[in-house]
Symmetry: C2
Subunit: 510 residues, 2 copies
Amino acid sequence: MSATRALRASNGLLRASSSLTKPATPAVLESRRRFAASARAMSSSFYANWEPEGPSVKTEIPGPKAKAAIAGLDKVFDTRSLNMLTDYSKSAGNYIVDADGNVLLDVYAQIASIPVGYNNPSLRKVAQTDEMINGIINRPALGNFPPVDWASVLETGILKVAPKGLNQVFTAMAGSDANETAYKAAFMWRRQQDRGGPDVDFTPEELSSSMNNQAPGASQSLSILSFKTGFHGRLFGSLSTTRSKPIHKLDIPAFDWPQATFPQLKYPLNAHAAENAAAEAAALSEVEHLITSYHIPPCAVVVEPIQSEGGDNHASASFFRGLREITRRHGVLLIVDEVQTGVGATGRFWAHDHWDLPHPPDMVTFSKKAQTAGYYFGDPALRPNKPYRQFNTWMGDPARAILFRGIIEEVEKFDLVNKTARVGDYLFGKLEKLAEKYPGQFENLRGKGMGTFIAFDSPRRDEFLAQAKKVGVNIGGSGQSAVRLRPMLVFEEAHADLLVEALEKIVKSW
Amino acid sequence: MSATRALRASNGLLRASSSLTKPATPAVLESRRRFAASARAMSSSFYANWEPEGPSVKTEIPGPKAKAAIAGLDKVFDTRSLNMLTDYSKSAGNYIVDADGNVLLDVYAQIASIPVGYNNPSLRKVAQTDEMINGIINRPALGNFPPVDWASVLETGILKVAPKGLNQVFTAMAGSDANETAYKAAFMWRRQQDRGGPDVDFTPEELSSSMNNQAPGASQSLSILSFKTGFHGRLFGSLSTTRSKPIHKLDIPAFDWPQATFPQLKYPLNAHAAENAAAEAAALSEVEHLITSYHIPPCAVVVEPIQSEGGDNHASASFFRGLREITRRHGVLLIVDEVQTGVGATGRFWAHDHWDLPHPPDMVTFSKKAQTAGYYFGDPALRPNKPYRQFNTWMGDPARAILFRGIIEEVEKFDLVNKTARVGDYLFGKLEKLAEKYPGQFENLRGKGMGTFIAFDSPRRDEFLAQAKKVGVNIGGSGQSAVRLRPMLVFEEAHADLLVEALEKIVKSW
């Protein structure tokens, strides 16, 4: 893998610190603009010492050490979905290291949830602060006993990056409960409206029937509309809106909630413009039909900006503007699930920033790269009319909220969202050439202009992912045939070169 | 509060370290037996320097600083359920400190979730280890990329305290998802059995109907049986089994699942033995009736050892043995929800240890004082027949699992479970006397022999809780009229003296 040693000399983040010691040529000025903060905060060898020089695959994966350890682990923990037994203490930046010392370029990143690299030095500092230690050992019941600095932690962290138009948050633990608490807010909001406003009390019948899980107290007359091939989590409410694969849903009771078709775009987009527009129009009209005619009418529509687990299905900004228009017109809430798309990977902080919406979504859910979770909202009416209606013991985790603040600082300091937009364009260009060179091997290449949130279909997908490990890259799949790229926000042009080189090796051998 | 200065000289934990420097009288030998490990590990002033000397209430609660801060927080975070704005950096041991510097003896402990005291010095050390920092900044997708030492973290932590007969764990984030994933395991287990075993494949009809949330793929023909006044969480599946209060359930869709009456015992127990036995027999017979005749038959029964949110409702060990017998006889799983009762507060590590069951529960869920969550199980058939059926991105949090290991070490080092049994007996004795002295003020005193997991009913409960703050104690309520005591495991006889003194002050003023 000597080719990969070029990484050190590559452009971007890794070069930045050394460029700061050179005379002020225009290129260096530009570099200084991007990395001004780093000059003050970091030693020149900071990032250079952080990452391995490149991938290095020494054994089969799993190798002998991993195999032995997995056999032991399996006695107490289900290992059938195990992908790699990972040595996190050795992993660094974009590189994941396994139990046998194999070093892989990681463009899966813990199912898209590592934001700024393994063992990020800035996050290490955050983890050592008194504030973090306090958050770890004194975990509060946030709804009852919030810490004195909770407003500040929110305002300098989670809320600093709140989507445009939204200024409040309900914190949660992970994507599933972020979505479910958003759904609960939607049900309470709508029922409160139907009841005649927040001051109208529950009827005795509502109070008593709710305890029996029956209408009218337990609302059985409202639903959440989701999209086919969408994924929103795997607890009972979120799973009722998840439509990715039967294996996610089989044998689990579900609510009788409606699903609309997500437009199935054809690629390349410019060759199928009319057809795709028609597919999106049909999908929107199906949504409107379900809103007005489904036997359990939806009080909210939940949608991912890019359906991720379902196979990286995209739709145009105009489709989402249409969805916003229809939901507003019918008094239905729009919940945008940014659990996988949020926090920069699409080249905007939130993927829905690409849509140029005239009115913001009603709620935006987040988790994964945020390392914490919750839903943003703006309309005060989305706070239920009484306390304790939306409540649980922990309501999130301040330690993880503090970490997200550190992530946001790192993202700002290194301008990582704009960088991801730039590196994504670079990577997409190279993949387009690869797709031309190997027809049929990189089909439906998608995610142009969406940062590094890129995918393609492989006719031999599972084999493709297995082969990738052998050439030093950890990649994930989604849907039936998609190879999904989910690099971290510290993924550089040099890493993109390595990645494309590796992808070519895979198909070249076939 | 000068009386509280006696605390330093009190028996138990605080005295332990100094007693180690005295000549070996029999009392000291006993003390050495209990605290042998501490002698090696800790300096003599370790615990003595840890806690404030006693409560100290200087302002109204909330005081001026808290009021100003709460107004700011409310703009971005719902504060209507706020109890005290807390300064965790100043809180220590059994004492919680608020924004205005008021110091309260805390027997609510973040809704029963602080195990070994605020700012516990041993946990502080754990939080500073490389292992913890690694867990914070490199959060894995545990099902796909578990850390190389995950088996060891489990075996020396979560699984070291596994309930008797259970040796595996599925890790989760909090109580609600711990219960919901246990329910999912129950549904998959039962459907797999009905299908003819783990090797029988899903039918095409099951595969396609599951995607539409319809039977037979999405099981609409099985339920989870729970008990009236029980609490198991507030997400959609767990909320369907929660029967505590309408405010928890109103407007949220729920599954049509059955509920049985939880025996309503009368106190004092010895004066109502026959009546209580009859109530328990009736409850068991209702369970059996629902198992055999409910139109959506249960595949599992979920029960709390002591119904906590629902008002501290107890039942006898014989009731639970009966429940185990009935569920086994009908091939229905028994899930014991130890989210609030687990980790020592009842004087046994798990509350169901009090029952002397001939067969263990099928699953035991845990969270709160464990600071992590999940469900234990033993039967390999409870692992679903295929991977990815029970899965999510994070599947828990290794950082919190490492913390639980530290908590377990602290509990063992100071023999905190046995100590809690002892202090609980001491406290209960004093409360019995108080109840005699103030008839009608401490009704239905319950939790005898259950460590510090003690409650009573107050005719002016909400006022009682508000008054408690004025005399320096933070206490929680539950159900309609219960005052529930939920001290930490570091609660000593001296704290019990303080508490009882404060409780008497409240009722004396009426």
